[in-house]
Subunit: 345 residues, 3 copies
Amino acid sequence: MRSIKASEIAALCQGRLSGPDLELKGLSGLKEARPGFLSFLSNPKYAVALPETKASCIIVPLGTEVKDKTLIECKDPYLGFAKAAQLFFRESNPKPEPGIHPAAVVSDSAEIDPSATVGPYAVIENGAEIGPRTIVMGPSFIGARAKIGSDCLIYPNVSIREECLLGSGVIIHCGAVVGSDGFGYAREGAKYVKIPQTGNVILEDEVEIGANSTIDRGALGPTLIKRGTKLDNLVHIAHNVVIGEDGAIAALSGIAGSTIIGDRLIMGGKVGVIGHLEIGDDVICLAYSGVTKSTPSRTMLYGNPGRPHMRGKRIDAAVDLLPEKLKVIHDLEKRVAELEEKLKT
Amino acid sequence: MRSIKASEIAALCQGRLSGPDLELKGLSGLKEARPGFLSFLSNPKYAVALPETKASCIIVPLGTEVKDKTLIECKDPYLGFAKAAQLFFRESNPKPEPGIHPAAVVSDSAEIDPSATVGPYAVIENGAEIGPRTIVMGPSFIGARAKIGSDCLIYPNVSIREECLLGSGVIIHCGAVVGSDGFGYAREGAKYVKIPQTGNVILEDEVEIGANSTIDRGALGPTLIKRGTKLDNLVHIAHNVVIGEDGAIAALSGIAGSTIIGDRLIMGGKVGVIGHLEIGDDVICLAYSGVTKSTPSRTMLYGNPGRPHMRGKRIDAAVDLLPEKLKVIHDLEKRVAELEEKLKT
Amino acid sequence: MRSIKASEIAALCQGRLSGPDLELKGLSGLKEARPGFLSFLSNPKYAVALPETKASCIIVPLGTEVKDKTLIECKDPYLGFAKAAQLFFRESNPKPEPGIHPAAVVSDSAEIDPSATVGPYAVIENGAEIGPRTIVMGPSFIGARAKIGSDCLIYPNVSIREECLLGSGVIIHCGAVVGSDGFGYAREGAKYVKIPQTGNVILEDEVEIGANSTIDRGALGPTLIKRGTKLDNLVHIAHNVVIGEDGAIAALSGIAGSTIIGDRLIMGGKVGVIGHLEIGDDVICLAYSGVTKSTPSRTMLYGNPGRPHMRGKRIDAAVDLLPEKLKVIHDLEKRVAELEEKLKT
C-alpha cells in the first residue's frame, strides 16, 4: 500500500493542516496507533488519550492543540475520519481483475459488463444484467432478468431473485436475500392457498443491505428501498414496503407488509413495525420499540407499544415505581376506611 | 405467455361470470391495471377505485355492480384472486427442464428422479433422494440420506442437512437452513460439553419455510412441522419442537426447544415462545408477544409476558394512564393526611 | 457402526457399572429405546418411564435402582449422557477423507493442511489457512488471509470474510457469516458516509456459531468471542463487541457495537443489548430482556428495560394488578371527596 500525505487527507476532509506534511502509513485508534500513522479524535471524552498517543498525525476538532503532532482540524472530525478511512481502504484493497471466473455459470442471455467481476460459483440466470465495475462474489445467485447497476458489491452466499432491480453503488452483504416471496396467502377453509408474489424488489443507488437480511418481493408491484438507505444484519422487510431515502435500520428489526416510511428514518435494533402503516419523514424509533400506529413526521418513538419518546420514558419511570405505589394504595385504603369509621361514630 | 379466458378463471374461482368472455393478459391491482388485464376487489375500502380502473375484468364480491366491465362474482374474492394469480403465474413461469446440471456434484448413491431438476453448484450427498418434479436450485446443499418428496422447490443458498425428510409440495426459500444442530450442551464445571444432535427435521407436505429461517434438528428424535404450515423469514424453530397443521408464523419469531403446538397456529411477527410448553389448537399469538406458559386451545395471546388478549389490552390501557394516576395517588396521600390531621384536632 | 461396551461408557462418564457388561448399539430416549440400546435418566420427573423402558442399559443418578438392567450410576447423568452421545456419534459419523474436492476453487497462496477436507464449491481465497483435520463443507466462502485452526467444522453456505481468525475446534453452522462489515457511518448532511470496517473477527477455541448468525468485523481492531462460548441461530454480534469465555447466547439475540461482556454469560432467546456497555462475569439475561445499562458481575436481568430479576418479576406482578388497582384509586378518590365534604359541614 502506498503512503498518503497528510495534506491529501486534509484536502479530502476540508480540514486545516498544521505541522509537517508527513507520509502516513495507515489509520488506527488513538491508543493503538504507531508512529507514522493517522488517528482521530471526535468524541471529546477520548481527549485524555491525546497526550499519550503515538500517532504522528491526528484529525481533531477545530481549535484543538496537541504538541509535536501534525494536526488536521475539521469541523466534523468523525466525517473526516470516515473519508480518510475510505481513502486508506481503497489503497489497500485494490479492485479485483474484471472478468468472469471460469467456474461461474452465466446464461448466454445475461449481459455482464466487461469491467465487471464475476467470482467462482456464481450463478447468473437468463437475461440478468451486471453493470460496469460491479463485483459479484461467489458462491451466489442472480436470478433471471435481475438488473444490477454499476459499482455494486455483491458478497458471497447472496441470493438476488428474478426481476429485482439494483441501482448503482449498492452493497449486499453475505447471506442476504433480495426478492424472496412475500408471506401472502388466502384461506380456503383451514388451508392456506399461496398467492404468487409477482412483484419485485427495487433497491436504489447507494443502498446497503446487511448480512442475512431478507427483503421480500411485492405481491403485485415492488418493494422499494430508496437512495442511500442502509440496513444492518438480520433485518426483515416484508412485501410492498416502501422506505424513503437516507434511512438506517439496525439489526434484527422487521417491517411488516405494505407499510410506507418517509425519508431519513432512524431505527434502533430489534424494532418491529406492523403492516399497512404510514410513517412520515425524520421518524426515529428507539431500539426495541414496537410501532403499532401510523406516525407523523419528526416523531421519536419509544417502547412497546411505541409512544412518543418523552411519554414512553415517563411511563417507564411510572412503572418502575409501581410496586411501592401499590403499597401506598393499600395503605390509603386502610387509612380511608379508618377515617370513614371515625366519622360514622 | 398465453392469454387466459375470463370463463376459465370464473370456473377456477367457482365464480359467476357476467359480461363478455374476454382473453386476459395478466393480473394487476385496480389502480395499476391496463386494458386487457384482470384485477380484483376484496377489501371494500378499495371500492372507490372501481369506477377509475382500466382493468377489463374484475373479481368482485357477490352482488357488486360495475358498468362496462366483465365481472367474476365470488363468495371469497381474495381466494379467487389467489387462484387466478396461481394460474397466471404457472403460465408465465414454465418449469425448468428436468435433469442434473453438469456443474452439480451429486453422489453416486443419491437417487434423483428423472423428472427432477438439479441446478448448478448444488451438492447432493450420499443416499439423498430427490422426488419427481422437484427443483433444487444451486448453489445449495442437500445432506446425506435427506429425502425430498415430489413437487418441492428448493431455492438457492439453502442447506438441508443429513437425514432430514421433506414431504411433497414443500418450498424452502433462499438461505433457509433445515436440520442445523439444536442448541444442546451439558456442563462440566464452567465448560459446555456438546450433546450431538442425532435427531432430524421432518417437514410434511405443503410446508413452506421463509428466507434465512432456521429449523434445528432434534437432539434425539425429530423436530416436526406438520402439513400445510407456513413460516415467514428469519424464523427460528429449536430442536424437538412440534408444530401442527395449517399454521402460520410471521417473521423474526422464535420457538424454543421441545415446545409442542397444535393445529392452525397463527403467530404474528417477533413472537417468542419459551421451551417445553404445550400450546393447544387454534391459538393466536399477536405480534411481539412473549409466550411463557402452556396455553389451552382457542386462546388469543397478547403482550409480554403473554396474557389473554382482552386482559393484555386492558393492562396496556392501564399502564397508559399510570403517570397521571401516580399524581392522583400523591394527591390522595396529601388529602388523607389532611383529613387525619383535622380529625385529630 | 461398531457396538460400544457398557464398561467403556462407564469409564468415560466416571460412572459405576452394575449388571452385565453389554454391547450397546446406540443411544435413545427412555420411551423410544429398543433392547440393546443405552438410555439415560437425568430429570427425576421422567423416572416414571424407568419401569417401562426397553433400554438394556441406563445412565442414572447415584443410588438409582432398576431391576434387570445394566446401570451406570453417575454424579451428573446429563453430562454422562452427553459424553456417551459424543462417543456413539463419532462411531457412526466417521470423518470424511482428507483432501480438496476437485470442484473447489482454492487460491495457490492458500495453505490447506493435508489432513483437512475441503468440499465441493468451496472458495478459498489468497493466503487463507486451513488447519489440520478441519472440514470446510461447500458451497462456502473463506476470504483472503482468513486463518482457521485445527479440528474446525465449517458447514455449507457459510461465509468467513477476509482476515478473520478462528481457533481450534470451532464449529460454524450453515449460513452463518463471520466478518461482515460493522454498521458504521458518518453523516454528511442527510447522507451516510460509509466507514470502512478494517478490523476483523477473532473466534477462540471451541467457539460455536449457530445457523444464519452474523458476527460483524470490528471498525478498527477485532470483534472477539473468547474460548468455549456458544451462539445459537440468528444471533447478531455487532462490531467490536467482546464476549468472554464459556458463554451461551440463545437464538434471535443481538448485541450492539463495542459492548464488552465478561465470562460465563448466559443469555436467553430474543435478548437485546445496547452498545458501549460493560457487562461483568456470570451475568444471566433472561429471555426477551432488553439490557440498557452496564451491569455488574453475578447479576440476573429480566424484562425490558432489563432490571435485576427479582425487581423485574415484582414489577410484572404489580402491572398484572394494575387494572383492578386503578378502580381502587377511583374509588378512593370518591371516598376521600365524601370525607372532605362531610368534614366541611
